[in-house]
């Protein structure tokens, strides 16, 4: 195995150890599953309360399915795209980040590995949240069928979309990680902003068409928006969704956007890292 792959594997292990080393792993996974489940159920209930005549609306079930997929996936992206920031900021205090620089490999595979570890965890918790949300919504609104299309074809298509989105999320992570090299306070607030921006601009909760023109255009080119659209095409049935051509075009846009995000993120991180070495801020903890 090459040094880079070994470093990546070690970083993935370090990520899981950080997340679950303090507790029984199953209990840790349970604790991490509660927030996305609560988040998805809150969306379902808001929509249910907002539509008092739900049982008479033939589209209600499709709208709940739209919300379930969007709600679970925006939380998934938000949960793992900021891990690079956490790895830098927390690592400065625990001396892990400084130690990376005296290891045979640089910070890039370390941050990539931490992101992949978090991706696997949050993909698992989000799928559990989606499943629980589906059954609870079905129980809360028995008069409305919530349409999902779960087959041996659609599930791999959804998993492929999850994997393709790693490029964009990792790129965003490196971009924020570059900021964290310099930041010594408040970087822990970044996830709330990522989560908030995704909630509004990634078509997670409502169609981008309700946003005003310049914001709508911004939302439409985001790879995260295209990832969630591709996931809906994979998981939800025709006639509203389930189109393989739309799935492929959304996934292609997600991939292209992801490559751009990753290139920009890696470039920014490399610049920040080099500049940080010269200025001596790599281990700076307070202003």
């Amino acid at each position: 195995m090459s040094t880079t792959l070994r470093a990546l594997a070690a970083a993935i292990w370090a990520g899981w150890y950080r997340d679950f080393g303090w507790i029984n792993p199953l209990a840790g996974l349970f604790l991490r599953t509660i927030p996305p489940i609560a988040s998805v159920l809150a969306l379902v209930l808001i929509y249910g309360v907002a539509k008092p005549s739900a049982s008479l609306d033939p589209n209600f079930g499709s709208q709940i399915a739209f919300l379930l997929v969007g709600g679970a996936l925006y939380a998934h992206i938000a949960a793992y795209s900021w891990v690079a920031t956490l790895a830098v900021a927390e690592g400065k205090w625990t001396y892990v980040f400084q130690s990376v620089y005296i290891s045979p490999k640089s910070a890039t595979p370390y941050l990539a590995g931490r992101t992949i570890a978090s991706f696997i965890t949050s993909a698992t918790t989000s799928i559990i949240a989606l499943t629980v949300g589906f059954f609870v919504a079905g129980a809360l609104f028995p008069a409305n069928q919530i349409p999902f299309n779960i087959t041996f074809v659609t599930v791999p298509l959804f998993v492929l979309a999850l994997v393709v989105n790693i490029f964009a999320s990792m790129g965003l992570g490196f971009l924020l990680g570059a900021y964290s090299i310099y930041s010594t306070k408040f970087e822990w607030a970044l996830p709330t902003y990522i989560s908030g921006v995704l909630m509004i601009f990634s078509e997670a909760l409502f169609p981008t068409s309700i946003l005003p023109a310049p914001l709508r255009d911004f939302a439409n080119i985001l790879p995260f928006t295209n990832f969630i659209r591709a996931s809906r095409q994979a998981l939800l049935p025709p006639p509203l969704y389930g189109s393989i051509s739309l799935y492929l075009s959304d996934l292609g846009l997600c991939f292209l956007g992801g490559i751009v995000f990753l290139a920009v993120g890696l470039g920014a991180f490399r610049l920040a890292e080099n500049h940080g070495r010269r200025k001596g801020v790599l281990d700076r903890k307070a202003v």
Binding site: L31, S39, L45, K51, F186, L205, F206
Partner: protein
């Protein structure tokens, strides 16, 4: 005023002063703390709007405002003693003559004052962008708001004593608690709705925020004369909850402090 009462007041004032000035002395704090409630409020308002329920957008704005305070209770009250322990400050609290209850009350008052700018910003942005229809009974609404905050921060004091026994786990517990409490307490939607099973409503009623949010929605948006008695009952329940939580926090803090002294964990930092 006797010496003991004077010391209690001085301590509460000092802690409130530090907490308030740490917020107002660093304007970036507002930017930091407003992010989550502001974006959530906008997201939920747009969700109500996309569902055609524009009359309920006010629920989302109120939710964003109260979320600012709930975030402050979780992260700056419940976890605070744990962080103070990591920084070595908790040992100073214990060795000084300052009453811990006064520190907690001061921290709460400072927290409320410090969170106010974020809450106001959420309200102003929500009002300007969405123009929600409101029908407020202001005196009752203000009383409800004050009593809700009192019970919410009393809950924070209780949690802070419990979190004292934990190490870094406290952060994970906070992360796990935040969303479920938001869900159960119906920050963005009325929990006491036919859609939600009665058992869930009963469990949710144990959380002061649930009752406070319901009373606030009734006084700010619905203002139905038939609800007056219900709102007063909710205020009474909130007052009782606040009193019970204050006693519980004081007792549990004493017990955990004593345990920490005996087993020698009171000054243990990273674990």
């Amino acid at each position: 005023m006797n010496l003991r009462a004077n010391l209690w007041l001085k301590t509460a004032y000092a802690r409130a002063w530090v907490r308030t000035m740490s917020m107002y002395g660093e304007p970036l704090w507002v930017v930091v703390t407003v992010g989550f409630p502001l974006f959530s409020m906008m997201g939920m308002s747009l969700l109500y709007s996309s569902a055609g329920a524009t009359a309920r957008i006010g629920f989302a704005i109120l939710g964003g405002i109260m979320l600012s305070f709930w975030g402050n209770v979780l992260w700056s009250m419940a976890s605070q003693f744990n962080w103070d322990k990591q920084a070595g400050l908790f040992e100073i609290y214990i060795t000084s003559p300052a009453p811990i209850s006064a520190i907690l009350v001061g921290m709460s008052l400072g927290g409320i004052l410090g969170t106010a700018p974020s809450a106001v910003m959420v309200a102003v942005v929500g009002w300007l962008v969405f123009h929600p229809p409101i029908n407020p009974a202001w005196p009752t609404a203000i009383a409800t708001f004050v009593i809700t905050l009192a019970s919410l921060y009393a809950l924070g004091m209780t949690l802070s004593s419990l979190y004292l026994v934990y190490g870094r786990e406290a952060e994970s517990f906070n992360e796990a608690l935040q969303e479920p409490v938001q869900l159960l307490s119906g920050v963005y939607f009325p929990v006491y709705s036919p859609v939600i099973p009665l058992a869930v409503q009963a469990v949710a009623s144990v959380i002061p925020l649930t009752i406070g949010m319901d009373a606030l929605r009734r006084t700010l948006f619905l203002n139905n004369p038939a609800d007056v008695n219900l709102v007063y009952t909710e205020l009474l329940v909130l007052g009782i909850m606040a009193a019970i939580l204050l006693v519980v926090s004081s007792k549990s803090l004493k017990a955990l402090e004593e345990r920490g002294r005996r087993v020698g964990s009171i000054a243990v930092r990273m674990r």
